[in-house]
Symmetry: C2
Subunit: 282 residues, 2 copies
């Protein structure tokens, strides 16, 4: 496995592969891998000839009060894990190479980024769209694989490539959970035992709603009435949002026609966690 | 010469050329060709194997009070002129294909677009950057050729490709003038004889400044004091801006070190005209 840090070298390598007719797959990440990341790599390995995993903690998607400096990093361990997944190249540029002096260009997906995490993280998706487009230009992938854990991000990236005619297929893959239901996140490492117990309430709330929908419940009002008490009972948990949205437009839904996405974000202590689930009414 | 209107067909053709090792050149235009456009095509013809000229009057770069509906169009004549320049493909999509329902992604170059035309046309360069990035993704050019007539646009596009790591070389080519100095513009067709005489003052003002700089004048204040009376004397002319700026950052300059760009925009009657010139102090 090769480690590339220079953006120009990455782009040159990508065009060499393209000239040879190779099919390129990109899994963009911020590193500190867990089973969720590894499942994206395993899937990506089967999608092309050259599998690139980018590791870049992107400063433009963090707000001034957010955890950019505290975001966990362990490049050596990440490289070991990626090598075991058959990754060909780890692309790990630094911030100065990605945003040199005078940098001033940004990409905005305006509608699907408005609600959910976009409401409480106003510049977040501008940073995500910008860096992902840069990574696409540098790695020249045919396919890019994202996790459904960041569901709004996945939808925004699918919208971006469609709108800007970027010749990349953006594929979303299911999020991975611990045995007890907690959605895997690099930020889970910061939860103390009590916070970790509290964090379980997020997935428990989603599972309850999923089960109610599976039994025919379509009403947002009744779903929320059932699950918010679970969350309100937790003194360490501060809800950011609980939203029932259309799977594609992310517009808020008063009732479920056939399917919907239920998304949640909450602070557990100082740590902001997100989770989401597909609701299907039979 | 082939005329392609479907964006997906254009992109497929571009990848076919790329797979065969072909080098692609794009000249993006809004059509209604004059000698300025033809000079870009002639230059572009020598830069690669496949020369594409796009013709698209892009709605997202026109403000609500601007001349989108009145912008001159003549596709048949344009195709005749392009064929004579050895153009391989005219890519002429329609607005519904480029901006289908639900479209919501935009690209912004934030600094170099602030002054000059950006000050009086607030959404203009967002529209330009967005459509040019879309055209780059659809045509997959190695080289794109722009005219220096739209100098701020050229600088913004060079900034965009550098910032977003777009693998396209953006080349600027000199603007073309009538024998009497008037910068060629598709909008000149709307000038009546009196307005056309008035419009000449723009280039005359720039030429005077160029000559003063060539004789050693570095001061913005003295240059402007010499040329503004020429413009103020014209009752049909309403100045939008007169700016002395750095060639690359477009920052306003109080004095010329070695070179600078002098740019002007003015309404002549109802028609907004722009022009610019390189100033060089020996």
């Amino acid at each position: 496995m090769q480690i590339v840090t220079d953006p120009a070298a990455m782009q040159q390598l990508a065009f060499t592969w393209r000239d040879q007719g190779g099919r390129i797959v990109l899994v963009p990440t911020m590193g500190y891998f867990h089973e969720g990341h590894l499942s994206l790599m395993a899937y990506g390995r089967g999608q092309g000839d050259h599998l690139v995993v980018s590791i870049f903690v992107n400063p433009t998607q963090f707000g001034p009060q957010e955890d950019l400096d505290r975001y966990p990093r362990d490049l050596e361990r990440d490289c070991d894990l990626a090598a075991k997944q058959g990754v060909d190249v780890i692309f790990a540029p630094n911030a100065e190479q990605m945003y040199p002096p005078g940098y001033q260009t940004f990409v905005e997906v305006t509608e699907v980024t408005r609600g959910l995490c976009g409401a409480s993280r106003p510049i977040h998706f501008r940073g995500v769209a910008t860096v992902v487009l840069k990574l696409f230009n540098l790695v020249q992938p045919h396919v890019a694989v994202f996790g459904e854990k960041d569901y709004q991000q996945l939808i925004a990236m699918q919208r971006m490539v469609a709108d800007l005619n970027v010749p990349v297929t953006v594929i979303g893959r299911p999020l991975v959970r611990e045995a007890d239901g907690l959605a895997l996140s690099s930020r889970n490492v910061y939860l103390n035992p009590e916070e970790r117990r509290t964090a379980l309430k997020l997935s428990q709330a989603l599972f309850l709603a999923r089960d109610m929908a599976a039994q025919g419940e379509r009403s947002r009002e009744r779903l929320f009435a059932a699950i918010t008490p679970l969350l309100d009972a937790e003194p360490l948990l501060r809800l950011d949002y609980l939203s029932l949205v259309d799977n594609h437009t992310l517009a808020e839904l008063p009732t479920i026609q056939h399917t919907a996405r239920l998304a949640i974000a909450a602070y557990v202590g100082q740590i902001r966690l997100i989770d989401n689930i597909l609701l299907e009414v039979p």
